[in-house]
């Protein structure tokens, strides 16, 4: 498809396990973002990739969270030793590099830590 694709759509994991969330951005979009949306809340910025530049990791809530982007395309968000407070919807977005352009979002991954 032509849109941003995220997998899995839903993930249930046990507390303490590691999880990986995947994002396939729109082809040609150099910018990629991860956001977290807790139940009934707004979106919280996590991390931002722009081309080959060093990512902006200022939104990552703890060192249990990490993300990488391989070949300037697919990105993986990894949460180690998951906690119940990590339960949320994780949304990925991509955009062209130009400031002010539309960011296109995926449908998110709903993570539930039990």
């Amino acid at each position: 498809g032509a849109g941003v694709s995220q997998s899995p759509s839903n993930k249930v994991t046990e507390k303490g396990k590691d999880v990986e969330l995947r994002c396939d951005p729109i082809s040609g979009h150099t910018a990629l973002y991860w956001y977290r949306q807790s139940l009934g809340q707004g979106l919280e910025f996590l991390i931002y990739f722009q081309g080959n530049s060093a990512p902006d990791k200022s939104g990552l809530p703890s060192d249990r969270f990490s993300a990488e982007r391989t070949g300037g395309s697919v990105s993986t968000l990894t949460i180690q030793r998951t906690q119940q407070e990590d339960s949320a919807v994780y949304l990925c977005a991509s955009s062209p590099p130009h400031w002010g352009t539309e960011a296109f979002f995926g449908q998110g991954t709903r993570l539930t830590v039990v």
């Binding site: 707004g42 931002y48 722009q50 400031w99 002010g100």
Partner: protein, 115 residues
Amino acid sequence: AQTVTQSQPEMSVQEAETVTLSCTYDTSESDYYLFWYKQPPSRQMILVIRQEAYKQQNATENRFSVNFQKAAKSFSLKISDSQLGDAAMYFCADSYNNAGNMLTFGGGTRLMVKP
């Protein structure tokens, strides 16, 4: 730090009527963009309308328009002729130049449309 505030957690409108969703923001930047995004139950965020801060004219997209008051740092969304498909969460957001397209979101307003 930038903050975006939506003071209405929920709003309700009768089908075919007009509703206005409020948003205020706080920034020291002179150059920025403002956005309204819609999030239906599918979870996918969809851009509704965008405003460049240096443009005086209010943006309009079909039934959607904004009232941008730069001095007051206010950016409200007006939906005219409301339709059942407009029911969703609406998020106000901003971005500024040296943060790429990173968006700072408000807490959202849930819009219900009554038939």
